[in-house]
């Protein structure tokens, strides 16, 4: 059984057995959860369906969050995607749209899959659903990619943390990007080592990102960080698939992320006391949101 403490060891095992990381994690989880691989695949299929539903629901001109602070941005991006004028191209603009849509669905009290958290829930669907739609990746393959992403997430959870309160946004959106990067590589048919390189590169690019939600709500800057998070994942995956390696191995990057998180002052860990949350505009918005609440 795997202890989910060492990704390099997991990649080596996958290589020895000539299987993907996803397949390695699937077999192990079936054993650990005392169930069958089919059962796990079925449940993961349901998670994928929920992701599709949240992407659908969130892409709306009228959707609004409880606070009224956010909503409707995925729709704007969708319209731009439809016009075919985006700078970053069809695949990326669709990935951004999906990431925003799922994150906006979350802020509007819609149903989502925390992957790994609610605040970062748009990144993995942004990567996986866009691969299915734009690169004709089969559902089976997408499900295996989610399992691969889950394996990466478990190692990060064990070695560091997945929560903004504990480790800043690098632990939430950074981890989600690393998971999405590995998932993209797995769907594109890359090797397990490439998946790890992609995860490492994604995580390195969000190292130090603080958790600073305006008014303590999972909206600003969270939703837009989902858009950037999926772009970082795509960049990292394409680099890895081109054969670019992460100079620092992924396990060490995860440990560095943990250390950076521990060094972060409390004001930058979900308390809404620092960063974006402490700007004059954020303070003004906070006052308005709470006033509105009082009058209700």
């Amino acid at each position: 059984m795997l202890d989910y403490m060492n990704l390099c060891r997991m990649a080596q095992l996958a290589r020895e057995r000539s299987i993907s990381l996803g397949a390695l994690v699937l077999a192990d989880q079936a054993e650990q959860m005392e169930t069958t691989e089919e059962k796990i695949l079925e449940t993961m299929d349901r998670q994928l369906t929920v992701m599709e539903q949240s992407a659908e629901k969130g892409c709306s001109a009228t959707i609004r969050s409880m606070s009224g602070l956010t909503g409707g941005d995925a729709w704007k991006m969708y319209e731009r995607a439809c016009r075919g004028v985006s700078i970053c191209g069809d695949f990326c603009v669709n990935a951004i749209t999906t990431a925003l849509a799922v994150a906006e669905c979350n802020a509007a009290m819609g149903r989502i899959v925390a992957s790994p958290t609610a605040g970062s829930c748009g990144i993995l669907p942004g990567a996986v659903l866009t691969m299915m739609r734009k690169k004709k990746i089969e559902r089976k393959t997408a499900i295996m990619a989610l399992i691969c992403a889950g394996g990466i997430g478990m190692v990060i959870a064990n070695k560091a943390s997945l929560s903004g309160a504990a480790g800043g946004c690098q632990a939430e959106c950074g981890s989600a990007s690393a998971m999405a990067a590995a998932a993209l590589v797995e769907m594109a048919g890359g090797t397990p080592q490439m998946a790890l390189d992609a995860a490492a590169m994604a995580l390195k690019n969000q190292m130090g990102l603080v958790c600073d939600p305006v008014a303590g709500l999972v909206e600003v800057p969270c939703i837009k960080r989902n858009a950037a998070g999926v772009m970082i994942a795509i960049t990292a995956a394409d680099m890895a698939l081109a054969g670019i390696q992460s100079v620092i191995p992924v396990d060490e990057v995860i440990e560095a992320m943990r250390d950076v998180g521990e060094a972060m002052p409390c004001a930058l860990r979900e308390t809404a006391q620092g960063g974006i949350a402490a700007t004059p505009t954020a303070r003004e918005l906070t006052r308005k949101i709470f006033e509105k609440g009082e009058n209700k």
Binding site: C105, M109, P116, A118, A165, L217
Partner: protein, 220 residues
């Protein structure tokens, strides 16, 4: 931890701790009352008190009290549903000394006057810790199958419960006993491996000096 703790849970947003965890605390309170609640008093403390409206914490807790799981589509409409169903509720923000940052105290009443008080904390990722039960200290997460058994504090009750579980080949993973004063009501909380069957629950309920048996299934 397994793969669905990472790719999951499926939940109503926006926050796993302020929404999904809050719904679970409400749900556990309802399970412990074990009847249809007609009145609810909810005290919110810490960051629950500060951000509850923006996170829908109030809606999530009421949804849980109405028996909804954290992924129930109707969760955002729970306040309206409570009014339709005639559940009276009152939500207040309070200061609780030395509590976890996200804590709620929930008092529920059934039609017949039965009452339960549950204090729970949302500890991250949608996970919860029940910290007090009817005034007695407690500590369970609901992540394992859990039996909560208020009983008269007298000899032989614990042995009776343990024997009944053994007869059904159920292993006890964790055991906790709290009591107010000798001879009063005490509560045992047992986390068990394997599923507790209907027959076993009936047997436990019939034991002398057992007042009540609540069973929380881990997947609820």
């Amino acid at each position: 931890m397994n793969i669905f703790d990472i790719i999951g849970p499926v939940m109503i947003g926006p926050s796993s701790s302020h929404t999904a965890g809050a719904a679970r605390i409400g749900y556990v309170a309802r399970k412990i009352l074990a009847k249809e609640p007609v009145r609810a008093e909810i005290d919110l403390a810490g960051s629950f008190a500060e951000t509850y409206r923006g996170h829908g914490t109030d809606r999530a807790i009421i949804a849980g009290i109405l028996g909804m799981k954290p992924d129930h589509e109707d969760l955002p409409r729970s306040l309206e549903i409570a009014r339709e169903k005639g559940l009276q509720y009152r939500i207040e923000t309070v200061r609780l000394p030395k509590c976890h940052p996200n804590t709620a105290v929930i008092r529920l009443w059934a039609e017949d006057g039965d009452m339960t008080e549950v204090e729970g904390a949302s500890v991250g990722g949608g996970n919860i810790l029940i910290t007090r039960l009817n005034g007695l200290e407690s500590a369970f997460t609901g992540q394992c199958n859990t039996l909560i058994i208020p009983h008269r504090d007298t000899y032989g009750v614990i042995a009776g419960v343990a024997q009944a579980l053994a007869a059904f080949r159920i292993n006890i993973g964790n055991f906790r006993l709290t009591r107010q004063a000798k001879g009063n009501t005490a509560i045992m909380t047992l986390e068990v491996d394997g599923d507790v069957s209907r027959e076993l629950l009936m047997l436990l309920r019939a034991l002398p000096n057992v007042l009540h048996v609540v069973y929380l299934h881990a997947n609820e």
